[in-house]
Symmetry: C2
Subunit: 213 residues, 2 copies
DNA sequence: GCTCGGATTTAGGGATACCGAAATACCCGC
DNA sequence: GCGGGTATTTCGGTATCCCTAAATCCGAGC
């Protein structure tokens, strides 16, 4: 039953991504939107995942990963984030440009190559966006963070994580020097960086950046 | 018409590999054996390739790449060999262990990443087995060679290329220090390397090694 | 409590790429 | 020149993953 495929991995990864930073389980329609497939495709695939014991799902109910499903999902996330880190460290990719390439490679890399890349990079704990890289045993090194949209006015902290969902936002932030590790201060809708740099962020932007508490 | 898929790429690559070192066009049954698929699958896929103008094929006739098909095949070969070279140079793979990994990655790498790897490696002309790496423009740097089974008794030369088809043979040769670039002498069925090393080769082994003339 | 609209599932198909079995074409040896 | 065996193709089917259109469910608001 070690059945897998790029499609299955993408479903598990997307289900996991939804709960990584908030607790509500994902619904079929959200899953369909994120994967850019029709809702009926989700119904079908979720049925298959449930049959393999990777998710729990009652008709018309929410979708939740089982322990087995979570473990598979973390494996995919690990691949994705190590590939991203490798592309930036070794191949000269900008950290705003690695997502699509990693999306494909995460399904193509053997365990052996994954291990070689991990060793080569010195077993990093975070990828270029600040996302934690699950370790081979499934454990995750975490840091306490606040989402920008939930931070109090005037909050100052180090950028820990920036969601890689919107490449355009990533490029805008990269241009202003806002990246993981940089110290910033929130004033209203504007984020002040070092050397007087500042970016104004809309609601989506404030949902995409996490600072240290 | 930029239709492609891993399956199509594998067919084109395999058709090309058959004619790379000898002129006879490949037959459907040989193609089926090399790809480990049923003959009927080959008929079907070849029909599709012919419809896309990538091969010429009359029913019951031989299969030949068109110019368009050759160009696509060379693209796949380039990917494969650059990936092999990268795995050996950067990731600590043995040159006898890279084939299977490259077989998968060759279908997953974007043009942009391919270019980055090529630049990173210093635009190599040959992969770890001595196979020429087609350049981005499709040109190939070639060296005059003799196949061991066609070399006269006592012939001495530098190992230029070793077929990567049989991993066990590759491991045996690696253990004896026989690899591309090494000076050897053929005596009967035995190949003498430097420092008194020697390997006895069967008919298949003598079909897998090329020396300088 | 009922209804209506959005979310979800069911039903019926399509594309890709594979298979085994059965039919057919080809060619070698006599 | 004719078998007969092998190579090749045809035919009907399978598995995966996707789609659209048509039910059906569910819960929010009246």
């Amino acid at each position: 039953m070690a059945n897998t495929s790029p499609a299955i991995e993408d479903y598990l990864k997307t289900i996991h991504a939804h709960t990584e930073w908030q607790p509500e389980p994902i619904t079929p329609s959200v899953l369909a939107t994120r994967l850019a497939v029709a809702p009926s495709s989700v119904t079908e695939m979720v049925k298959k995942l449930a049959a393999q014991g990777l998710v729990t799902h009652q008709p018309y109910g929410a979708i939740r990963l089982t322990d087995a499903g979570l473990s598979r999902a973390l494996g995919v996330v690990r691949r994705h984030r190590l590939v991203e880190t490798w592309l930036v460290s070794d191949m000269g990719y900008g950290w705003d440009a690695v997502h699509d390439e990693a999306e494909v490679l995460e399904h193509a890399i053997s365990d052996r190559l994954l291990e070689a890349i991990d060793a080569h990079l010195g077993r990093p704990a975070r990828d270029p966006h600040g996302d934690p890289i699950p370790q081979a045993d499934g454990s995750i090194v975490s840091v306490p963070t606040v989402l920008l949209s939930e931070a109090p006015a005037g909050h100052a902290g180090t950028v820990v994580r920036i969601s890689d969902r919107d490449p355009q936002l990533l490029r805008r932030l990269a241009a202003c020097g806002i990246r993981p590790g940089v110290l910033v201060t929130l004033s209203g809708d504007t984020l002040d960086g070092p050397d007087g740099t500042a970016v104004e962020l809309d609601a989506d932007g404030r949902e995409a950046i996490w600072l240290t508490t």
